[in-house]
Amino acid sequence: AIHKTVEHTALLAEEGKMKISVQSRSGKSIADLDVEPELSVRDFKKKFFGLKRKYYPSRQRFTLPLKAGETRATALEDSKKLSDYGLQSGAVLHFKDLGPQVGYATVFFWEYFGPLIVYPLFYFLPQYLYPGQAAPKQHALVQTLALGYWSLHYSKRIAETFLVHKFGHETMPIFNLFRNCVYYWGFAAYVSYFVNHPKYTAPGELQSKVALGIALVCQLCNLRCHVILANLRKPGEKGYKIPRGFLFNFITCANYTAEVYGWVCFTIAVQSIAAGIFTLVGLAQMAQWAVQKHSRLRKIFDGKEGREKYPRRWIMLPPFL
């Protein structure tokens, strides 16, 4: 059997090919492929899909076997070639099924579209959503303004999804679609229920107008931050860059700063604990992401070997974080 392998390898080498053994991470053999070393990872995944029709390319994850001292296996990147990883004939790659995938833009669209429909329901259909409660004939000004602000916010998010954001990954696990929609649609209902309730008590109009005005400014800042982030990498560029300009000169995740302050202002404008809870939960999640991003950037831009040193900046929320 060994001499057959040697023969096979020699035959392949004549054709300029090499054999790759794909195994599961527990060592079970899945498939063997004969490929040119110059093949891109992307095309390798297409070939693998040809053999295993269940696993379309975005579900495939290939890692190199762990070297001594490594705890995390190196994953193959679509844009690289097999030869970039120094793979020889007979090399082993570990395969992981990432599960059914869905596109980033698809998830973003559906998670933001829900709030656009759900929130207005409580404003326009109180007779169904607050059964048995006599609603006042007219909404308070702040309730109408809040509806406008909310709808504008989520329309902006959908527009950014298709016109601004450049996603670092193409797909995510399909469970995220379900989980994110539960979060956004659930909170839309929760906040709207209380703000549009027949027994809603409006705060002073000046408070509401000023707060929503500031919130709008925060939204514009947030948009500007998104545009800056989208333009950080030139087309085809990979790798992390230090964000600069506007608020990024002082804060790593200035986009989150603007978003949090926007929701704080919304909460003050409508004066509802429900909005406050929504703001807090969003703040907690963004803080977690911001800390991760900030440490990642500081780790990469360490000032050694000609790399820049990441400047001293707030993480997300001066003067607290």
């Binding site: 309730h197 027994k199 809603y200 008590t201 004066q271 509802s272 604990i273 429900a274």
Partner: protein, 223 residues
Amino acid sequence: MLTMGLKTTHLFLYNSIQAVGWAVCLYKLAIAYSSMQKPDQAYAEAKDFAKVFQGASILEVVHAAIGIVPSSPAMALLQWAGRSHILYLVLDAVPQVQSSPASVVLLAAWSVSEIIRYPWYALSAIGACPSFLTWLRYTAFIPLYPVGVGAELALLWQGLPHLAARGAYSLRLPNQLNWGFDYKIFAQMVMVIYLPAWWQLYTGLLRARKKRLGGGGSKAKAE
């Protein structure tokens, strides 16, 4: 002692004190049981220790948040909140359920679990944990968990009508905060999530047990 750092000393002391507290709680329950006292009397004997040491265990959330233990702060908070809710907001607040056997079963299940768990943490912190204690820590939960969860659900179920009748922990509209909270609905949702959430925890612990103890004593297969 030896040259222990601040973190190790603190963890050793905290977990030892907790172990003692819950041991006393269990002792009080045992005395009450042996003198044939009714559940509400047994509860009256043990409750101060349970309340103090359960309250103090909020520190475990802080430990996770500052990173001196590997747990997730969110999980720690959730578990602390779940237990505290049952102890302070239900059991301690509704005298009627204190006469239910579930009150004693609850405190007993908690105490037994804690007199295993806390010594395990304390000794592990100083690297002096005997293997039988590790076995106990990863095995005792198998019967104790279902018993504890059953008692918690029973108490919530029994206590809810009384709490709902007096409108406890609830806020009604209209108010300046434009927010309402109906504790009865909240408690009902908690009861619905309890079993699936608890099942996830339980099976997670069973998996961790397999990893730690090697599945019934057999060595893990070589790859």
